[in-house]
Every structure is written in C-alpha cells, then in structure tokens.
Subunit: 298 residues, 2 copies
C-alpha cells in the first residue's frame, strides 16, 4: 500500500501573488509530493495549501514552505479577517493511507522540532499531537492572536513545545498537529421542512448525544426546495458513514420523509467508502490488501 499523509498548511498571505507562488513552489518542487490545491483569500489575507505524499517528503515540503514563508511574510505588518498568529499559521498533518495516527503524531513532532530549532519559531503542538489537554483545540491555542502571543507564551500553560520561548516578531507562532481526515458528507431529504433536518441532525451529531465523531446541522437547499443534514465526519474509522446514513434514513422515515441522495464534498480517503461497501455487502474477512491499487505501491 502507498503510505500517504495529507498536509494542509495555512499561510498568512492572501494578496501578494509573488509571495504565494514562492511558498507553493516549495511544495510543487518536492518529489513524491503532489500539490492538490491552494486557495488564497484576500479578505482573510491567508492561503490554504493542500498536498499529499510520502510522509517524509511531506514533512520536507512543509518545512521548506514554512521556511520561505518565514522569510517573506512579516507578521508585524499583517492584517486580515481570519484569526492568525504566524506566517505559517497552522500545519495539520492527516494520515490517509497505510500510516497510523501514532506515526503521524511522530511526524508532526519531527516537523515541529525542525521548525522550532532551525527556523527559530515557537511551535505549539495541537490536536492529537498536543502535549496537554488545553492545547488540543486550535482556537484556544490561537486565542489572543499574533498581537497577544508575546505575552501568552510567558504563561507556562502556553510555553512552546519546540523552538524559542519568546515570540518570533517576524514569523509569529506556528501550530502543528496530527488530526484525522474530515469527510464532508451531506444527506438530502425529500421535504422542505427544515425542522425535520434539524431534528435529525441533532439526533446524529455527537454534541447533542448522537455519534461521537459526527458534526451536523440541518439546512435548507432552496434551489431544490429540499432540506439537508449537512455533516462533517471527523473520524470515519470510529463513526462510519454507513451507520450515520442508515440512522438518518430510519429517522427520516419516522417523519414520512425519504432520503433522496447524499453528497461527498471535496476529497476523502478511499477506505471511508470501502468500509461502506464492506458493510452493505456483508463481506466476511475483507482485507484492504485485496484492493489491487493498494498492492501497486506497497
């Protein structure tokens, strides 16, 4: 199987095309790494870059891009609508194929160590890589933003995991962490009754007592005159798509409503769908190694 990690760093530059291209070029030129997307946002003055590849090479590309960002972006002059604290604001690392979360955490720490030591940038590890529970949530890590970081880092609760103990005035602070891939999964209902979508969303999402790794909202799709349960599946290995889909279908039927379709928005790991096939076909003892494509790159 191919070992694949996804990386989605956010850089604090969304206006200067020259700077954006120079950062992205570091990813593009790294072998065994595939640049999938980069979307600069002028209002946020921020650019989200998405790439995948062999884990060591992904780390290398992320480090190089972060280095260039630290040279070309001056946080003391940065403004934009999105909360931010560093030239490279955050680097999420996501295990996609044949890489465990534990390995991904190790890769994130290796990257954090290099950025801290070689680039002299304070690094706070977050999400699955957090060194303490208060650091798991990115919003909490970033609270106070760049302007508040000189002060915040003095608090032992927020002392950097890697790099200097003080703010890097130019490059700010970088958050790095491993997290599960997120699958944007929406289920459409043949009614215009928003209450039904809201009730079902409340039933399936973890925050109100439903499936732990499902976040969901009921919304209207006005152009189609239907409603939708719009979800983020934040760990498809523990809260699989088929279980949530089946529950939505049953609950919809209870209101005399049918599921007319679903949508996968953006990208997802193959296994999130293979698990669905495995479930509905009731396959006994299926092994991901039986998939020919997985054998190609093992």
């Amino acid at each position: 199987m191919a070992r694949i990690v996804q990386c989605v760093p956010n850089f604090s530059e969304g206006r200067d095309k020259d700077i954006i291209e120079k950062i992205v070029e570091e990813v593009r030129k790294t072998e065994e790494v595939k640049l999938l997307d980069y979307s600069p946002d002028k209002d946020h003055n921020r650019c989200v870059v998405t790439f995948i590849g062999e884990p060591e090479k992904v780390i290398e590309a992320a480090f190089s891009a972060c280095k260039v960002a630290s040279e070309l972006i001056d946080m003391s002059k940065h403004n934009g609508e999105h909360p931010r604290m560093g030239a490279t604001d955050v680097i999420p690392l996501i295990p996609i194929s044949d890489v465990t979360m534990e390995e991904c955490i190790e890769y994130s720490k290796e990257l954090g160590r290099r950025i801290g030591e070689e680039l002299d940038i304070p690094v706070i590890m977050y999400e699955k890589s957090a060194s303490a529970p208060n650091r798991e949530n990115l919003a909490a890590v970033r609270r106070g933003q760049y302007e508040g970081m000189a002060e915040k880092l003095k608090d032992e609760k927020w002392s950097p995991d890697f790099g200097p103990g003080n703010l890097n005035m130019k490059a700010g602070v970088t958050a790095i962490g491993a997290r599960m891939p997120l699958v944007a999964f929406n289920v459409n209902l043949d009614t215009d009754n928003l209450d039904i979508a809201k009730k079902i969303a409340k039933g399936v999402r973890g925050s109100s007592g439903g499936y732990k790794y499902c976040k969901g909202l009921g919304i209207e799709i006005k152009e189609r005159n239907i409603v939708q349960v719009s979800m983020n599946m934040v760990d498809y290995t523990k809260t699989p798509l088929y279980r949530v889909f089946d529950t939505i279908e049953r609950e919809a039927n209870r209101y005399g409503v049918n599921v007319i379709g679903s949508e996968i928005i953006g990208l997802l790991p193959m296994n999130a769908l293979i698990d669905v096939a495995d479930y509905y076909l009731k396959i006994e003892n299926f092994d991901y190694g039986q998939i020919l494509e997985n054998r190609m790159f093992e």
Copy 2:
C-alpha cells in the same frame, strides 16, 4: 490517478524451479511493475504469474518474460495435464485503473506485434483483442493444443495475427488478449438447502437469463452447514456487485432464507467496491477523482 494494467501470463513450466525463477525475474526486475504472485503447478507443468504496473512497463515485463520462456522451454518436450499450445501459453492484459479497454487492446496488439516479429512466435489475439469472433474464446483458440498447431495454423480461420505463419517448434503459439478484471464474489445463505442456492444462481447468472456479466453456481459449504451462490463477475462495470447482491437477497427472502455474508476471493479493482458505496449511499455526482489516493499518482 495511477494508470494500472494487470497481466497474468501462463508459462508452460511448473517443475523446473530454475527456469521458473528466471522467467519471474524478468518481471521482478522491471521498474514500475509489481510482481504480486506466481504459482507453479507440477501436475499441470504450468506457472501462472500475476503482476501489475504502468501499462508500457507491463508490456515490457511481459515481453522479456516471454523471451526468456521461449529460450528456456522446449514445447516439443512438454507434457502436463492443462491444455497448452506455447511456452508462453497465454498473456491476458486487464485494465485496472485509469486505462480504458480500448487502450488495453492497443497495448495487447503492441505486445503481440513485438512477440511475433522479434521472437518469431505466431501470436493469436483473443478475447477483446480478437480479430474475428471465432478467436474470442481462449479454449477455441487453444483447441488441438501444441501438437495440433502446425496443422491448425494453415487454416485461414486460425492464421496468426502477428509473427510467422508457421508453428515455432520450440516456443509454440502464444495467445494474447485484453479482458476485463474478474471479481470472485460469493454470497452465503443461512440454509443447508442446496436447491435454493442453485435456483438463485440460475436466476442471477447470464447464461440462464440473469445478469449478462455474472457467472454463478450454487454450492454447499459443508463445514459451515450452509449453501453459497458462488460467482465470477466478469465485468463489474456493466453488472455491478450491488445489483447482483440485492437480487440474491430478495430471491433468498422469497424462500424464507437470509443472506448471512459475502466473500471477495483474491484481488479486485478499487472501483468495484467504490461503486457499491456510491449506490447504497445514493451519492449524487460522485467522481473517482474525489478519492485522495487517486490524486496521488495522476
């Protein structure tokens, strides 16, 4: 997406390990080609080799292995239980990922041309690559076996598509052709009544009026005291797994019997299962390009 073709050549040597290893080594040493399996059979005096890879490289590996086989195997001295006509008896080429059947047919012809011209072996193209309907079926192509080929090739109906018009006494004749991947798919029923499995198999298989690209039999699984509809899905793009599974489930219910599980034997292309997930989740407008792993090698 990675472009992948599978190749499963059959060589007429199942006893001499040294010869077998020399043939297999040609595959093993080809870059961007992955040897998956080789299984020599002493009674058949035959070895089936399975490998996958980038199409051009697969052709190269198949040609090299065929060349070595033509040097090391003497068909005039061959005996074995399995019908055979050449040192390299047959080379099936199978499109797995991001390669169309039409492209695969072209690759098979390129391979046929090279084997015919450079190795001086008569080549008959079969299955999807056949130049006439009577050549589609491998058993028909091979009828008469090595011993009958000198005579058979004189018949215009069987004149080689590539290479010399006469038998190569040492290497025999090679059949080459593109075909769809075959998925071995079995569905288990919670009854020991073999008649029910047989009736259902008859209902779903193409030969008796069922799904065109499904072959099936009802068999007993004595150690589990159940019966099984044992199938070969010979074109999952036209007769998908979910449709056959659903039909079996409905027909089983008609006899008061339940489907308790299914089995995938051996390897299958990813899309055969992605299509199943797409169906049961009723995904609207799904694109294989949304699968992260497919983006890695495009």
